[in-house]
């Protein structure tokens, strides 16, 4: 059965003043999907999430969650969405238990067992004051508060920001708990590609406020190719080929990264007459850095150092 998407974003554009932050963004998230929302800082991820939740209004375009216009989300719909904003803010003067009780008072469906399970997982005592918690513990507390209402859609805005690897792992494990439930949808933005790789089914990449990729993780990784061309002399400048993301030229090598490389691309690389062409397997992190990093040619020549 074809289920309606949980999230629909249609030609969303957002300006701050006259600065365009998000441009013509369209995206659909199906139920049960774990969506990684990627992009460098300031590319519009948080803004998109806030518009999605009705906290900010779009300049143009529209967003819908559970079929409801984000700008008119009813409290009942909001109760179906768990939202963990970045920064993990809790009221410092409350204890862990009070935080839970305060949050529980707003949600008709509150699973105290989940709350307790998550805080136990993060080794939190109910009487601990929120202001005395470490960053990781605070993240755990926020996650417990987000997961306990058993949301159908979980929106996490860079949940692992500033956490050490252990806390990150704990957070991830807790988050995976939700994915075990059928038809639970997660949209999370992150910089940490290893986390994305571990849990996400699909990714969306924002670059300069524009959606540049919307695909499965595998498809993304496969679509990016890295070639190292070896030369006996100084390599020629990188040719202007379609899909070229970046090139790196040294005394004897020319490294090129492509998106959507085809057999034509390889044929054109061969026309440069290198001594050898070596395709290199990329990790998701490398692929992502190449994809959203600085475009164009970079060089590094030893002779430049010698001249200095």
């Amino acid at each position: 059965m074809n289920m309606p998407p949980v999230i629909e974003i249609d030609r969303l554009t957002k300006y701050y003043g006259t600065r365009e932050i998000v441009r013509d963004l369209s995206l659909k998230v199906s139920p049960g999907t774990i969506y990684g929302f990627l992009g460098r800082n300031g590319m519009g991820k948080t803004t998109t999430i806030r518009i999605l939740l009705g906290i900010e209004d779009p300049t143009r375009g529209s967003t819908r969650v559970f079929g409801q216009d984000s700008q008119k989300l009813a409290p009942e719909t909001r109760a179906r969405i768990g939202y963990l904003p970045e920064g993990h803010h809790v009221y410092g003067w409350m204890t862990v238990k009070e935080c839970g009780r305060f949050q529980a008072s707003f949600f008709p469906k509150w699973n105290q067992e989940i709350f307790e399970a998550v805080i136990t997982h993060f080794r939190l005592e109910p009487k601990m004051k929120a202001s005395h918690l470490s960053r990781g513990q605070r993240a755990g507390l926020c996650l417990a508060m987000t997961l306990a209402p058993e949301p159908e859609l979980l929106v996490l805005d860079d949940p692992a920001l500033g956490l050490d690897p252990v806390a990150r792992r704990s957070l991830l494990q807790s988050m995976l708990y939700v994915t075990r439930q059928p038809n639970r949808t997660i949209l999370f933005s992150s910089h940490l590609l290893s986390d994305v790789e571990r849990v996400a089914d699909r990714i969306a990449v924002l670059d300069g406020g524009t959606l540049r990729a919307d695909c499965t993780v595998e498809r993304f990784r496969e679509s990016l190719r890295h070639y190292v061309l070896k030369f006996d002399a100084i390599p020629p400048p990188a040719p202007a080929l379609p899909g070229l993301l970046e090139s790196f030229r040294t005394d004897r090598e020319l490294a090129l990264t492509f998106a959507n490389a085809t057999s034509d691309t390889e044929a054109q690389l061969a026309s440069l007459r290198p001594a050898g062409i070596e395709p290199v397997q990329m990790t998701l992190e490398d692929a992502f850095v190449s994809y959203v990093g600085e475009r164009g040619e970079k060089t590094f020549f030893m002779r430049d150092l010698e001249h200095k």
């Binding site: 003043g17 904003p85 998106a259």
Partner: protein, 691 residues
Amino acid sequence: MSALIWKELRENFKWALLAMLVLGTAELGGLCMGSDADYFYNHGITLCRESFLLVTTFGPPAIGFLLGCLQIIPELNRDRWAALLHRPIPWGTLFFGKAIAGILLYLVAAGVPYLGCVWLAATPGHFAEPFVPGLMLPGIADLITGLVYYFAALLAALQYGRVAFRVLPLFAAVHLTFFVQRATDFNDAVWAAVWMTVALGIAGWGAIYSREQLRGRPWLSQLALLIVSFYGLCGLTDFARLIVRPGDDYSFTGSQYVLNDEGRPLRLNYQRGVLVSAQETDGSTPSDPKYKPDRVRNHIRYLNSASSYIGDSHGVQRFRKDSHYRSSYNYLHPGGSFPQPQPEQWFFIVEPRILVGISTPRKTIAAILDARGFQPPGATPVPFAANVEIQSMGQDSDLLVGPDNLRFADLARRTVADIPLPIPSPIYGVCSAWANDDVSTNLQITAISLRTAMAVYDNKDQHLMATLPYHRDVERWGQIEVTLNSQGDRFYLWYKPTLWISRKEREGMPDYLDEMTAQGEVVHSYTLPPLPRTPSQQTRDEYLSLRLQSPAFFFGTLLYQKVGALLGSHRLRVGLDARFAENRISQTREAATLIPIFSLVCAGITLAWARRAHFSWAQAATWAGLALALNIAGLLLFRFVADWPRVVPCAACRCPRPIERQTCPHCADHWPAPASNGTEIFDHHTHPLSS
């Protein structure tokens, strides 16, 4: 909502407690400051004491403002605010949850200290002054004003993006403070404060839906914000005037008659508040150098008004009271008190109409004087009739002035005795008078206005000094002022046109001055022709503010006064008369002509400006309509409060195009899709990237 209220209370209770302690200390200081030295009660009584009201004027607003800021600003961290808004309750509930908690905290911080002061003032043994509930009214008005500041702070803190959004709510509260301080009637002050609180509350409720712009807020909240912003502009004007012209600018230009110490009338001529010359009534300059402009004020006898009419009252009250609700004289005033501390201080309580004597050392009630005579403390008083007035007649003595009889109360001896009138007659007025030309004589009299004569009693032993028959038509010249010389053998009666005669007619009538002996013979008589009225001079800011005021308010007030006067309201008739008085009528006419013209100009500018800035026709017309109704204020509101379309150059025609609109208003081009560069990775979806 209860969880939210609990959270707000727990979060800010410590601050409320701190504010309560600080305000309590300040109010206590204000209440006790100088209370034992102000024997004339010139600075007010207990809860109406100036030093106390100074604290209540500034304290509760400061607390309200700080509480409002404390409740919002720490929450405004981008993500904390987002988490708060995402909670599954209506945003309105969120706002009102905060507001209810804030009001409770405010009541703790500002209400509890005030109640403490009320308890202190109302409990015998603390102050040698009686307590009546009316004394609480100024403090209550200030407490409600503090709530206005609380909601102004909530609104200002919630809104962002434009300076006006933050500044105007605060200046609306400042304007309200000016109004509360100037209003004569408590109800006017409180209703204004309540309405402003409601407007700010509704505007604040809307601001939680859309913090940056008008769009996205409920229409009621948009309207409330416009009202608040309008009053914010008024507050800004008040504030600017206070800076430009901090003191009262007495700029009277014209002439007035005075009585010199030789018993002759003089004409004093003023230019912009400065006395420039003194003249005899025949126009000559007085030969005696003591009447030169720099010295003449030291050689003037001052007259007190004994009546405002004689005969038919035409609806004018016999004893007119124009007291201000912030003045303790509105509720009680000293009777028979003198500068030195007395064993007893007597006060006339306005409601119920009784006299109360307070034992100064014990600070408790010593005796009561009511309609039955002197009563012990604790007795249930029987108030004097409404037509009985109390007139102090010297140390420990009061005159009880009935409609046609006089009674003398000796407060020290606790006796009340009738004083016979020289002729049977209704009493039209009473006043004290004294010879101010020789301070050593200490001669003081009480003058009683009767139907055909003025009875003059010596304050020392209450004997009838003189019966002065009127020699004028007192039906029309019934406003009579009186004084005497230091020997007590010359009395001066100054007849002015009766108060019920219209102002316009009065301005054409002369005054009369009669110098009389104690036997009632006229020694000298003067007719003082009406003085030419100089149109009142306006300062530049007065001139501007009159012509730039809202036509809706100008004509609305005029209509209100006209209808009120037709329905018999004296207050509104006086206001209307003042607008059409001889020296004001040209200004009123000019304003009635120029205000609509200025409004039309402002509306035209607004319309043109709005269209140029890519407002839709409907929006531009709405703002122009507002400018037409509010004059320059409407134009300023358009400039600072409207959601101005943001524009960027169109990619096709390079003309500025509003970012909110789908098509360019110049070339009708749609927004181009982001350009494709071949690096996009999409699988099953269709994406609008252009190749």
